[in-house]
Symmetry: C2
């Protein structure tokens, strides 16, 4: 008996029919048993939403006669939660979310369904990683990002991750020959320069579309967005204790008890 | 000319018709001009979701003939974003989200729509605070929590908050006479002991309901949940740079570039 084959849960926020999750699953299948549990529909920018007020349905998806994965009528976090709590026969060794079609850097990390699936894996005690390709182009090539995912999966399985920590990986959308390396980075501070475009429906009622760009407030090489701009893969360790430890002592000097 | 009256934006995740936001607005109106921009429907556990793929509608809500606030067909973060970017005549001095009907402590902070509204205010450069009352009881009394909100609003307006930092306030659901003080705390590590209850619909198709309790992994007094258990108001400073700074150097020793 050798060591048991590794078992890896794959999810995403682009939905089970997205090409990015297919590229990821095909690459990861070369090193582990894979199970896909993903949203039935695209779920971008859902943040760390979970479904509490509606029932969840789980549907088995086949490609031809071959079982492909489970589609859930919920969010990425729902998918990972119901997979680990209910659907899977055993605890996975790793959760990978992706490959997202679009970057998840800077402030976008907190809006990201892709990251939230990996965060949910971490919350449930499984080493986890989110992988994104930094383009929205419809004909995106996920092959190099899938190689990165396999390499990082090997590293995580070998070395483990600290309790409560996951990796957020962003891969530049350039040909593999132009990739200039891999960097460990911090989450950037860039925010969205968003605005709401006012339109009128055919009944002359106003509605709004959100639009905007990521403002490049900081492009130094040691942050996620800065690495991507230099054609380097960005690997950011993230966690979900939001406490501002630096401000705790100062806040304790406030008269908070004067209510 | 005295100083200009302060202008405070109020939102929540329980929806514009919830009693908690009404109690908050009534209390805050004694110290500032108030504008309410809140979801038209209850939005619990939506995390930091924003609406990118659907149009937003904004509806003016009247109580009798008096304008009450704007209802948005979106998430708490959408409400704060569209308020500050589009609806309000000037930048508010403060954003307050709440009063939430139920606690937002420990791991729940990352699922919380209440907190995400305040986070969005912080992202947009406005000092912000989330306020929650730690009960789901339908006949909850929000009056003491509203007093806490007013006191904390005064303090924030006087002292300011660091860029990128907001306050997450949880108020024990006990009579005011039993409140044992106010504590500055850290976000706790408790997670949900969740499970999915399998049921059958009238057509015998399976569906799942999420249920569960917050596991009390740590109840020391300096964490949010620990303060609440001692009938103390919990005030946690939080931020949204998720970088795990402690793990950065260790991760830099990994062979991340070996792909």
């Amino acid at each position: 008996m050798g060591t048991m084959k590794k078992y890896i849960l794959i999810s995403n926020d682009d939905g089970i029919n997205a090409p990015g999750i297919a590229a990821l699953a095909a690459a990861i299948e070369t090193i582990a048993d894979v199970v896909i549990v993903a949203p039935e529909k695209q779920q971008s920018a859902v943040g760390h939403a979970i479904t509490m007020n509606d029932p969840l349905r789980v549907q088995k998806i086949f490609h031809g006669e071959k079982f492909y994965g489970y589609a859930v009528n919920g969010t990425p976090a729902d998918c990972v939660k119901i997979a680990i709590r209910t659907l899977l026969e055993r605890k996975p060794d790793l959760v990978i979310s992706g490959i997202n079609h679009g970057s998840n850097t800077a402030i976008s990390v907190i809006y990201s369904g892709t990251v939230s699936a990996a965060t949910e894996g971490t919350i449930l005690g499984i080493p986890s990683m989110a992988v994104s390709l930094t383009t929205f182009a419809p004909e995106a090539d996920f092959s190099y990002a899938a190689k990165v995912a396999v390499h990082m999966a090997h590293l995580i399985l070998e070395k483990g991750l600290p309790k409560g920590t996951l990796l957020n990986v962003n891969v530049p959308a350039v040909p593999e020959a132009e990739i200039a390396g891999v960097l460990v980075t911090k989450q950037g501070k860039s925010i969205w320069n968003d605005e709401f475009e006012s339109r009128r429906d055919p009944n002359n009622r106003e509605y709004f579309w959100l639009k905007g760009d990521l403002l490049e407030l900081d492009t130094s090489e040691d942050i996620d967005q800065g690495a991507i701009l230099r054609n380097k893969v960005s690997v950011t360790p993230i966690q979900y204790d939001l406490t501002d430890y630096k401000f705790l002592d100062k806040l304790r000097e406030w008269d908070v008890s004067g209510v």
